[in-house]
């Protein structure tokens, strides 16, 4: 027979292992649920099914596409191959400008319309989100 101490330590170690496995499982599971994928307008046009999950779309704000009324801001994100119309009611960052990079987070309505819940801010005028850079192709 094993001593009481050994038994206790065995219990302790197995308890740790179980909690470890459980917490890893939990983390991975909610990771899966809460990941927000980044898409370009072209990628959205190409996929056959419209995803209902929250996503981010990045590209350039098309020239002369911003219009605004008291409830919402409407603009077009382009990657110079395809475009998508974005409707947004919320705060836009100050660096949100036509001809500059933008990332919008929200849900797809259909292949051409995107309802944004967040427009991401950038702190640097010369800065472009890496996703946008990738979406626009490397210069």
């Amino acid at each position: 027979m094993y001593g009481k101490k050994v038994k206790l330590r065995f219990l302790f170690v197995s308890l740790i292992l179980i909690t470890l496995i459980l917490s890893i499982f939990l983390i991975l599971k909610s990771l899966e649920e809460n990941v927000v994928y980044f898409q370009s307008p072209t990628k959205i046009k190409e996929t056959s099914e419209i995803q209902r999950k929250k996503m981010r779309i990045g590209g350039m704000v098309k020239e002369n596409s911003i219009s605004i009324n008291s409830n919402e801001i409407v603009f077009v994100i382009t990657d110079f191959k395809n475009e998508i119309n974005v409707t947004y009611s919320g705060i836009v960052p100050n660096l949100f400008e036509e001809g500059k990079g933008v990332v919008a987070e929200g849900y797809l309505k259909d292949r051409n319309f995107f309802i944004a819940s967040k427009i991401l801010a950038k702190h640097d005028e010369n800065y472009m989100p890496p996703e946008v850079k990738a979406a626009l192709g490397k210069e």
Partner: protein, 624 residues
């Protein structure tokens, strides 16, 4: 001129490092007394770096645009205060600041550790010098703050306007004091491990450094988050953004370490765990710098950066990790552990519970921060992980964590019954009832809210009661735990009661909702030295007909040409009223956000309380 002096001073500082290493290796072999040259040399090194740093500040003050760093980050019309703070508001300068803190801390360490064994002191100095040399090379080779440009430009490129802010001017130095403080803990624990000095005495001595780093790190994070609250205009103070997360991770590790050190100090247990935590804390601080500076992180806070630098830090970081693992494996003596056992209900157990949960929170944040980078590398799929991930994984686990936090400090070492059962139970019932009452009243989701609010109240009441029970030895712990419960309470009620209006208005427009009327009265212009300011005047009227004037501001900076919003915030003890106004290109409409955020100020106050606990414990220790 100042740049030149700065540069050579930096080079001399690096050379001094080699001399110190030479002497300390020699000294270590024949260690009876500390070599008399060592203290003056570390002081000299500190002075060299200080001169170098002052040289950079002077170049910034004089707007010496022949210096590349000054050219890239300053402008002659910038106010003096921001010329100075611009010194560390960029990569090169902030690295120099790291070095300055590194060298000053090791000097202070050598002075303060006079009662410690000689070998241990020398070895700590050696390890610290390895880190310092790494940073010297990094600074001189990849990111010298003293590069010369010719022809000399007339004007600089200016500092990013959102960095031109008092809170952000002192945020990096404070945060770095915390980060760099962990380097001393790292060197010291490795050295103590090598000379077999991990003991109660060591714990007592290193606790000061742990507490100091912790206090600075907490303050640094607080400043950053206050800044984010009013400058970014998103109306929140924590966004689970990678750049924020990397400062939180060392904080978790450091907080765990504080608790463990207690066990080591009182009971000589958990030795290996303390060493691992010391290594982890510094490694996390370094990775923080790496991740922020390398551009690997895809963050909304991202500033321009350079991947090559990232590679250097990464290589340096891995060598340090390997070195420390090597030392840990070879010098760690097994028999140091498990020399004493303790019962299931004891202070040790409750501290272990704290440790396990802290490590869990740390891994959640770590995975959430690193996973997107990982996925990008293996599949070039770009993703981001938002707040729901963290909330979902952290909030439920706060419940047992808080219970342990309330009851743990009441337990005795080794073996303990539950003391004063009666009031613990009474308080628990009271908290549950109160929380159920509140949740019912608010008609919010029942289960998670009532359980969560119950345990937070429980911690709140128990720690509150302890203030009136005379047991001054744990006053610092008590105020910290109380502060934490206040912090959570404020966040919870802040989240539940925040109301927000987002709308687009033209001058003269009125926005009406059920609760408010917002009238956009006018726009006013002001000219400042380096920006033009546009101030909007809004009259907000609530249901009772009370009127309030809000005046958010837009700033159009000259160089770089950039617009920032300055939130208008009215603070009182109950709530913050918060308004920002944003420009939309070529449009008459302005983008308005109005928020009422209850208990906002209590979030800051409670964090200050938490910090005060650390500070008191530090000061009291010095008295003894």
């Amino acid at each position: 001129m100042a740049s030149l002096i700065g540069f050579y001073s930096l080079v001399f500082g690096a050379i001094t490092s080699l001399i110190i290493i030479f002497f300390s290796v020699k000294n270590f072999k024949s260690a009876e007394k500390l070599n008399v040259k060592i203290v003056p040399l570390t002081f000299l090194q500190f002075i060299f770096v200080l001169i170098s740093f002052l040289g950079l500040i002077v170049s910034f003050i004089n707007s010496d645009f022949s210096n590349e760093t000054v050219f890239n980050h300053s402008h002659s019309t910038k106010p003096l205060f921001y010329k100075i703070s611009g010194t560390w508001g960029n990569h090169e300068g902030s690295l120099l600041l790291w070095l300055l803190v590194l060298t000053s801390f090791i000097f202070i360490f050598i002075l303060k550790s006079i009662r410690q064994p000689v070998q241990y002191r020398i070895l700590t100095l050696l390890f610290q010098q390895i880190i310092i040399i790494g940073f010297f090379i990094f600074s001189l080779k990849t990111s010298s703050p003293f590069n010369y440009i010719y022809p000399i430009p007339d004007e600089g490129l200016g500092l990013n306007p959102i960095l031109q802010d008092p809170a952000l001017a002192i945020h990096p130095p404070i945060l770095y004091l915390g980060y760099v403080g962990t380097s001393i803990i790292f060197s010291s624990s490795l050295s103590a491990l090598t000379v077999n000095y991990i003991s109660k005495e060591w714990a007592k001595h290193i606790k000061e450094w742990v507490l100091t780093s912790w206090v600075f790190l907490t303050l640094g994070i607080l400043l950053g988050s206050i800044w984010a609250y009013y400058e970014l205009g998103w109306g929140g103070f924590w966004f689970w953004d990678p750049v924020e997360n990397v400062s939180l991770m060392p904080w978790f590790a450091l907080t765990t370490l504080i608790h463990c050190i207690l066990v080591l100090e009182k009971r000589s247990q958990l030795t290996s765990w303390v060493v691992i935590l010391s290594i982890a804390t510094f490694t996390l601080s370094m990775s923080g710098t790496f991740l922020v500076r390398s551009g690997v992180l895809n963050s909304v806070h991202t500033f321009a950066n350079d991947p090559e630098r990232g590679l250097f830090i990464l290589v340096f970081l891995f060598s340090l990790i390997f070195l420390s693992l090597f030392i840990f494996i070879f010098f760690h003596k097994k028999e140091m552990d498990f020399n004493n056992s303790f019962s299931l209900i004891s202070k040790e157990t409750s501290i272990l519970i704290n440790n396990w949960f802290m490590m869990y929170f740390l891994s959640v944040v770590l995975i959430g921060t690193v996973y997107p980078i990982f996925l990008d590398v293996i599949s070039s799929e770009k993703i981001s992980i938002g707040p729901p991930f963290y909330h979902k994984l952290i909030i439920p686990f706060l419940i047992p964590f808080l219970l342990a936090m309330a009851i743990g400090p009441k337990l005795k070492w080794i073996k303990s019954g539950l003391p004063d059962k009666l009031y613990l139970i009474v308080f628990f019932i009271l908290s549950v009832l109160l929380s159920i009452f509140i949740v019912k009243k608010l008609e919010i989701e029942f289960l998670i809210n009532s359980v969560l609010i119950s345990v937070v109240f429980y911690l709140f009441f128990i720690t509150l009661r302890d203030f009136f029970i005379k047991k001054s030895s744990s006053f610092s712990q008590n105020i910290t735990h109380f502060g934490f419960s206040l912090f959570l309470l404020s966040i919870i009620f802040n989240n539940l009661f925040t109301s927000e209006i987002i709308t687009n208005l033209k001058v003269g427009d009125t926005f009406k909702s059920e609760k408010f009327k917002i009238y956009f009265e006018n726009l006013d212009q002001k000219k400042e030295k380096n920006f033009q300011s546009i101030v909007g005047k809004f009259v907000v009227e609530n249901l009772n007909g009370e009127k309030e004037v809000m005046m958010p501001e837009l700033r159009i900076y000259n160089q770089p040409n950039m617009v920032t919003s300055e939130a208008f915030i009215k603070t009182n003890f109950f709530s913050d009223k918060f308004m920002t106004m944003n420009l939309v290109q070529n449009q008459e409409y302005l983008n308005i956000r109005y928020q009422i955020k209850p208990l906002m100020i209590w979030i800051w106050i409670s964090i200050l309380m938490i910090t005060t606990g650390g500070l008191i414990s530090l000061l009291r220790k010095n008295e003894n």
